[in-house]
């Protein structure tokens, strides 16, 4: 008698062959039906993005910058170089890395919210300009520690002091590029073949990292990235009642290495604008950037400890100093929220390898408004927003460590 698994595998693995000609005919009909349905939509149904942006929670321009960085940093988390393609992914990333300038259009959609589109220009090492569809503009200069945003409707500009952390920690574009070819974990890149974008032949690379997937489309002619699409869970659920939200981000019209006039990044508003100095709007956004960078540092620390345990028969380092030869660099030990003080996270030496155990957490005296970063034994690193949830994780970890 055949074992049940054999029957199951037989059903699962029975392939079907199809007639390619009929396949093509059906697809043509399906596409025609799709095109017709698109044509039926009236302009009345199109979304008024300007209005949506005004209403949306994430319309603060500074927050938009954070999301862009999240995407760019996301690329950093993804690994290896794929084989078997005439366009090497490494070359694509190298082009992005060596670029002095990059400009692109970014469309962001969070579940339950309408999509938003912004136009971005970045000039190495620390200039960034973002324009919203309603005409509002933000320009960031991290060396000067200042940014300016203006609203063409109100003819009002806000000059904002951004120096709330060491300058280089906010020089995120440069930092992202620096890391792009370094410290890649095992990747799952996949060459998804060629396609065409705006008349340009492109090849796609699918990259995965935990709950995030990114597809990078690069020009066949010059290996320059043309489009980046990503979908993933940027904000994890904090408890079982909360639903994880998927954020989809599409970066299109990428132009790399184009000469950008420095006047684009001037911190002076156009003529006729009144200027108000403030620091309120971006502090939160910058704290989020710092938290993101801090999470990346914790991820590196966690990986170093994990690597140590692999080479020591499952024994984890006594302390972080012991793991220093396993991928901890000088800047990894920096406390971003307070550079003058000691390492800002607490290490709990695992007694067993259970992915639910807390390995590292950001030290705190008073629970921070934006929550803390927590790394687990399997190295995944998340931001936990509420203290009660963190305490549950911590109690579970300590309970396991104590053998009950």
């Amino acid at each position: 008698m055949r074992p049940a698994e054999n029957i199951e595998n037989l059903i699962k693995n029975t392939n079907i062959d199809t007639n390619a000609k009929i396949d093509e005919e059906v697809l043509v009909e399906v596409v025609e039906a799709f095109e017709k349905s698109k044509a039926k939509k009236t302009s009345a149904t199109e979304q008024n993005l300007g209005r949506i942006i005004m209403k949306s929670k994430i319309t603060k321009l500074a927050a938009a910058a954070v999301i862009i960085i999240a995407v760019m940093v996301g690329i950093n988390y993804i690994g290896g170089l794929p084989d078997g393609t005439s366009v090497a992914f490494g070359k694509v990333i190298a082009n992005l890395r060596s670029a002095r300038t990059v400009s692109f259009t970014i469309t962001i959609e969070e579940e339950g919210q309408e999509p938003q589109t912004m136009y971005c220009w970045m000039l190495e090492p620390n200039h960034q300009r973002i324009e919203m569809q309603d005409g509002r503009v933000v320009i960031v200069d991290t060396f000067q520690g200042k940014s300016i945003s203006w609203d063409p409707v109100q003819k009002k500009a806000y000059l904002i002091a951004t120096a709330i952390a060491p300058k280089y920690t906010l020089n995120y574009y440069d930092q992202v590029k620096k890391d792009l070819l370094g410290n890649f974990p095992d990747g799952s890149e996949e060459n998804i073949g060629e396609s065409e974008i705006n008349g340009q032949r492109v090849v796609g690379f699918r990259l995965r990292h935990h709950d995030c997937e990114i597809i990078v489309w690069a020009s066949v002619a010059n290996s320059m990235p043309v489009m980046i699409e990503s979908a993933g869970v940027l904000s994890r659920k904090q408890d079982k009642n909360q639903k994880e939200q998927t954020t989809s981000i599409s970066i299109t019209d990428m132009v790399i290495g184009e000469e950008l006039d420095e006047s684009l990044f001037s911190l002076s508003p156009p003529g006729g604008y009144s200027v108000e100095e403030t620091s309120e709007p971006v502090i939160k956004a910058q704290q989020q950037v710092i938290q993101l960078l801090s999470a990346r540092i914790m991820l590196k620390l966690a990986r170093a400890c994990y690597k140590y345990s692999k080479e020591h028969d499952g024994l984890w380092p006594e302390n972080l100093q012991e793991a220093i030869e396993y991928g901890i660099e000088d800047d990894t030990l920096l406390n971003l929220t307070d550079p003058e003080s000691e390492l800002g996270c607490v290490y709990i030496r695992p007694q067993k390898t259970n992915p639910r155990l807390v390995l590292l957490y950001q030290a705190y005296e008073v629970w921070p408004e934006g929550g803390i970063n927590v790394s687990f034994v399997d190295c995944h690193t998340i931001i936990i927003n509420d203290e009660a949830t963190f305490k549950e994780h911590l109690d579970f970890t300590l309970g396991q460590q104590n053998g009950y």
């Binding site: 029957i7 059903i11 029975t14 392939n15 079907i16 007639n19 697809l27 399906v30 039906a33 699918r206």
Partner: protein
């Protein structure tokens, strides 16, 4: 799968490329599923064809709670059920002879290329009670969880698991007896 979320996102925003990818990614699976449920390749082709056209016409209606794969499988199963009901009505009305005469005719070209393995398996599956067959096919070919199948069939998860177990036992014995022959 995150890739599917991306595909849906792009499809809902009018990407023909995304639609083509969904079609190419899942059409074989849906054809296999419909064929196994109906044991009739011609009817299965019509159902999958019709489903994809309708799917393409109303992207805005697409609202997923689970995976895209199981969503598509559920849609096809619903169409198969409707087709079965129509067939039963026709049989009751005495129209089946003419109808089956037409469907048994080989069309000049067919979408599915029959293979011996597929035919044998489908013949064996066809000998199972409909509900058991549906559970096995949806679970193994449609990658649907027992919970989702239970919701679809309107029964408890235990009933679904029993149907799955009994179905597999029966299938095993059918296939074994064929081997002996």
């Amino acid at each position: 799968m995150i890739e599917d979320k991306l595909l849906i996102w792009r499809f809902k925003r009018g990407s023909t490329e995304a639609l083509c990818r969904i079609y190419n990614k899942y059409k074989d699976n849906l054809l296999r599923l419909a064929t196994a449920l109906l044991n009739d390749t011609t009817a299965a082709e019509d159902i999958v064809h019709g489903f994809f056209v309708s799917f393409a016409q109303s992207p805005e209606k697409l609202k997923l709670n689970g995976s895209l794969k199981s969503y598509l499988a559920t849609c096809v199963v619903n169409r198969v059920r409707n087709a079965n009901k129509t067939r039963q009505r026709q049989e009751t009305a005495g129209l089946n002879e003419a109808d089956s005469a037409v469907s048994n005719l080989k069309r000049p070209e067919q979408w599915i290329i029959d293979s011996e393995q597929l035919r044998q398996l489908n013949d064996a599956l066809a000998q199972l009670p409909e509900q058991q067959r549906e559970v096995i096919i949806l679970h193994l070919q449609g990658a649907m969880k027992f919970k989702a199948i239970a919701e679809l069939q309107g029964v408890s998860i235990n009933t679904v698991q029993s149907r799955y177990r009994y179905g597999l036992d029966k299938l095993r014995s059918i296939l074994n007896s064929e081997v002996k022959l």
